[in-house]
Structure formats: C-alpha cells, structure tokens
Amino acid sequence: MLGGIDPFILIASLIAASVPILLAALGEAVVERAGVLNLGVEGMMIMGAVTGFMVSVATGSPLLGFLAAMAGAMALSLIFAFLTQVMLANQVASGLALTLFGLGFSSLLGQGYVGVKPPLTTAVPFGPLADLPVIGEILFSHDWITYLSLALVGLVWFVLNRTRTGLILRAVGENAEAAHGLGYKVRRIRLLAILFGAALAGLGGAYISLVRVPQWTDGITAGAGWIALAIVVFASWRPLRVLAGAWLFGGLTVLQLNLQAAGSGIPVEYLSMAPYLITIIVLVLISSGKGRALDAPAALGQNFHASR
C-alpha cells in the first residue's frame, strides 16, 4: 500500500508539514503554563496567515510578511488579554470569540488576495550539504522558518526549565494567588505569555499561507489551531513532547496526502477525516492513561483578581 512513497521524502515533508502546528502549539504551551487557556489559537493563526500574506505580497518580502503575521496575531490577542486579564471574562468564551472574530475578520481583510501568488520563501542554502543522500533531504532542505521553529523548541524548553523567568511563569500558572502574595505581577506575566503565544501562532499561520499552500483562501487554517491545542494536551505541556506531537500529526497529514496521491484504495473522504479522528483517539489514549490530570498547570483557565 505504501508503494510509490519515498520514506525519506516523507520524513522531510513531515518536518515541513508540522511547522505550523508546532509553532502554534509551542506558543500555546507557554500560555497555558502561565495558567491561561486561550482557545483562540485558530483565530490568531488565521490572522497571522492573512496579515503575513498581505504584507509579503505588498512588499515582496517574506521576512516582512512573517513579522507582520506576528504583529497581526499579537494585536488580535490583545483583545483576548484585555477581556480575560482586565475584564475577567471567561477564558473559554473569550477564546471562542477570538476564533470566530478572527475567521470573519481575516476573510474581510483577505478579499482582494484570492488567487494572488505570494513571494517565495526559499530553502536555506546549505550548498553541498543539501545534496548529501538521505541526510541532505531530511536535514538540509528546509526554509529558515522550519529551523527557527526547531530552535524555538529548545529555547522554550531552556527558558521554562532552566531560568528564573521560566520558574516565575510556571509559578503563576500553578498558583496565581501565591505568586501575587510573593509580589509577582500576575497579570503582566500572563499578558506577556499571551503575546508570545500569539506571535508563534501568527508565525505558524503565515507559514500556511506563504509556504505550505501558498496562497490565500478563506478559512485556510482549516482547524490547525485546534489540532495545536490538542497537541498541547498530548504533550503534557512540555516543549519537547510538543515537538513529538507535532511530528506525529504532521506525519499523519503527509501520509494521508501521499496515500491520496498514490491512489490507494481508501476513499479520499476517509483519509481527509483521518487527522481529526486520530486527534480524538490520541486524546482518549493520553487522557485515560494517568491519574493526576496530566500535569496540567493547576491554575489553568482560572482568572485572577487581587482581592483585598
């Protein structure tokens, strides 16, 4: 059944395919570690996708596009931050609102861009390295965003586990009252975490519209933000496991596309619902496994208001 699919190309393309969900899930893991549940990942991704697309088409520069994508998603996340951190609104509802608004607003912005081709984001020139057999294909054939996303996994891991900043962030996500009692600025820390998460979600969204597809259509993220949210749970909020989760889902997507292209006997519909079904199955497997609520940050989803 796998005949006609080159496993090395498959690995190389799963690395590329997983970049958007990897970035978004990594950012959301940081946000949730700070105790904030932002269900607006899908909305922030698609805002990043559209602003990144518009700016890179206008300027011809993918770099400026990616920067704009981060800015666009961060701007949108400020609404969420204001609602949940200042107005103490329910985080689940605010996150949903962010996604609904993001989907509508992005298609409003992207109206004139359907069918336009964005400038090309090129692979990093590794010269002869890229021509190495097997390794060249897998390791040295990617664009710089891919390498950046991998570097960010390491960076987030390091900051969370080895620095004082990370310790404070985790403390805020564990027990906001106690952190406040020790004099930490809970709201400010959470705001910064939300912005960081938004920047990565925006970057991931732009990677879809500028590299993966590359073009603009309404609803282009097609649930990637929700899969990213599932990956965070899957990864027990740990960066390295986020990478594993993203590769697993990226791999499934690529495999599914390859199977379709290879003309396997399985109907297209079954294959295209596979990533979502597998997400559910994986959620079931990890949720039923351990006892203590999967090491979720203890204050996840709870708003903090400094009473007297």
Partner: protein, 360 residues
C-alpha cells in the same frame, strides 16, 4: 486610578444591561469598521438593521427573520444548558450536519412513497443523529476524561467530510445530472417542512424552537434539573455535595444539545434549504454560540438574541448586494458583538472604583 471591586452580590441590572450596551458599542465599532472599508457607516447600519424590518422589501425580509432565527434559537438553547453547567459543546455545527444527513437519509429512504409518518420519522432520526454526535464527546469525557471542547470540535470536521460523502455519494440525486446534492426534500411532499402561514417564515422548526424556549425556561427556573445545571456550573464541588452526578450531567447536556442541533439541521434541510449539498450548512452551529451568550444563556434572552442575529444575517446579505459590503464583514461584526458582551459582563460581578486601593 481605576480598579475593579467585587460586588457582594451579582447585579441584576447589568445582567440585562450588558447585552444592550454591547449591541450599541458594536454598532459604533462596526460603523467605524464599515467606514474603514470605505462605506458610509450610517448607510451601512441602516441597511443592516433598519431596511429589513421597515424598508420597502420588509414584507419579504420579515419572513426571513423567523426562518433564520429558528435554528439559531434551537441550537443556542441546547448549548446554553451545557454552558451553564460548565460543559462546553462547541461542535453544534457538526451535530447540526449529522442531524440533517441522518434525517434526510431516513426520509429519502421512503422516496417516492407517501405516508403521514415519514416526516415525523425523519425529524426523529435527525434528533437522534445529532444526539449521537453530541454523545460521542460526552461518553469520551465520562469514560476517559477527554476534553469535550476539542473532541466536539474535531467532530465538526469529520461531519463536514461525511456531509461531502452524502452529497456526492450515497444521497446524491440520481436524477440530478451528476450535480452534487440530494433530492429536494422540501419538494417531496412526505418530507416537506413548509411555511405554515405564508409570509411569516413560520415552519415546524420555528414552532419547535418556540416550544423549546418555553420548556427551557420552565426547566431552568422551576425544575430540579435546571437548578442542578446552574449549581454544577457555578460551584461544581457544591453540586457534588448536593448529590448531582457530574457524569450524568455531561451525558444529558451534550446529548440534549446534540439532539436540538440535529433537529435544527433536519428542519432546515426539509424546509428552507431543501437539499443536502456540500455547503448547505451556513455556520448556524457556530453563530449559535454567540446567540447563547448574547441571550445570557437564558431561553427568553436567546430568543431575542436569535432574532437580532438573524437580522444581522439578513441585513448583511442585503448590504452585500446593495452596498457591496463583503459578506465576511457580518461575521466579524458578530464576533465583535461577543467581545463587547464578554467585556461588559464584568460589571455584573464587579464595579468600577476610582482611586488607588492597593499596590498591585
């Protein structure tokens, strides 16, 4: 310096003032958005909110109002029950689709026979289909502690694929020249869900929605189950202390909201939409989330919110043809409404104070 201070008791005034102020704020912000799009904001707002009700074509639009509000209200009441209990079904769109597909399959299985029971049977099948789809995340949550938000949403994408399979495959109209889409259920008398009073938009789905509003209100305010729902949402531990079985609550709430979404789906496909096509669903399942919140998760509020949201749909379409306003603008407009509402909700439980109270 401004700061928030918790009220000793929730404010009844803000409970109902918040949605009204939110609508006003959204009109201002929406006007600015329309202006940014190069449209005359007053003209745009008038086209969306005034014309459908009182303009020249009001005779047509007024009927559309109930037609569009019906499914929104039906779905939103089911969602609201769950949201009040802290159970987050956001996959109503999927339950809506499955309800329509299952109901239509049952109805069309009899084609071209004529029996009185076909329509009720199809409706029942639609409700059961939606309920089954809603029970999947419920059972997974009860059995395996999976997150119902993610599962119910993933099932929307699965449902959309099933819808495509139905429209292109097992329900495709054999006499349809290979065009995607099923036979027209509203033109098959045994399954038709016609307008009951001409020009009003009133069909069986709308009637059901109105009955559900009444029942929902009765349950929430007068019945033990409604009390348990509110308790489970506000204070889960107190609910367990009172004897509420949380697992049962999850199953009932998700099953119920799935069934109501399924009903909305089958009423839509046997009536206004008529055929199962890959894009017959227009996002009612998602918009209903806004309707539920805007209506304060209260059945009567939801009825009003559903009508308002229907108005933005109709007005938005009208503005799209008349003023060239992009149709996505309405979606953004609806999202904005939810933002303002969530922000203003804070005043229900907190009040603003001036002056510095503490070092924060």
């Amino acid at each position: 310096m401004l700061r928030l201070e918790k009220r000793p008791a929730p404010s009844r005034f803000w409970l109902w003032a918040a949605p009204i102020v939110a609508v006003l704020c959204t009109m201002v912000a929406g006007g600015l958005m329309f202006a940014a799009l190069g449209k005359n904001p007053i003209e745009a707002l008038r086209t969306i909110f005034w014309e459908p009700l009182f303009g020249e074509l009001a005779w047509y639009f007024r009927g559309q109002l109930l037609l569009k509000a019906g499914p929104l209200v039906l779905i939103a009441i089911g969602l609201a029950m769950g949201y009040r209990a802290g159970i987050w079904n956001i996959g109503a769109e999927g339950q809506y689709i499955i309800g329509a597909v299952v109901g239509a399959s049952v109805g069309l299985a009899f084609y071209p026979a004529e029996h009185w029971f076909i329509f009720p049977l199809a409706i029942l099948a639609g409700a059961l289909g939606g309920m089954t789809w809603g029970l999947i995340p419920a059972i997974l949550r009860v059995k395996f502690r999976t997150n119902e938000i993610l599962v119910s949403l993933m099932l929307v994408y699965v449902a959309q694929t099933i819808l495509a399979m139905a429209a292109l495959g097992f329900l495709r109209n054999p006499e349809g020249n290979n065009f995607p889409g099923s036979r027209n259920l509203s033109q098959y008398p045994a399954t038709a869900n016609p307008e009951l009073i001409s020009g009003t938009g009133l069909h069986w789905g709308v009637v059901t929605a109105l009955i559900v509003v009444l029942l929902g209100w009765l349950i929430l305010s007068r019945h033990r189950f409604g009390f348990e729902i509110r308790l489970a949402g506000q204070a889960p531990r107190a609910a367990r202390f009172a004897g509420v079985n949380p697992d049962r609550m999850v199953l009932i709430c998700l099953g119920l909201s799935g069934a109501l979404a399924g009903l909305a789906g089958i009423f839509e496909v046997t009536g206004p939409s008529g055929i199962i096509s890959p894009d017959f669903n227009v996002g009612y399942g998602f918009t209903a989330i806004i309707v539920a919140f805007l209506g304060r998760l209260h059945p009567v509020g939801i009825l009003l919110a559903g009508l308002l949201m229907a108005l933005t749909y109709i007005g938005g379409e009208y503005a799209a043809t008349n003023l060239g306003l992009p149709s996505a603008a309405v979606q953004a407009f609806q999202g904005m409404l939810l933002f303002f509402l969530l922000a203003l909700d804070v005043f229900g439980n907190y009040r603003l104070r001036f002056g510095s109270g503490r070092a924060v």
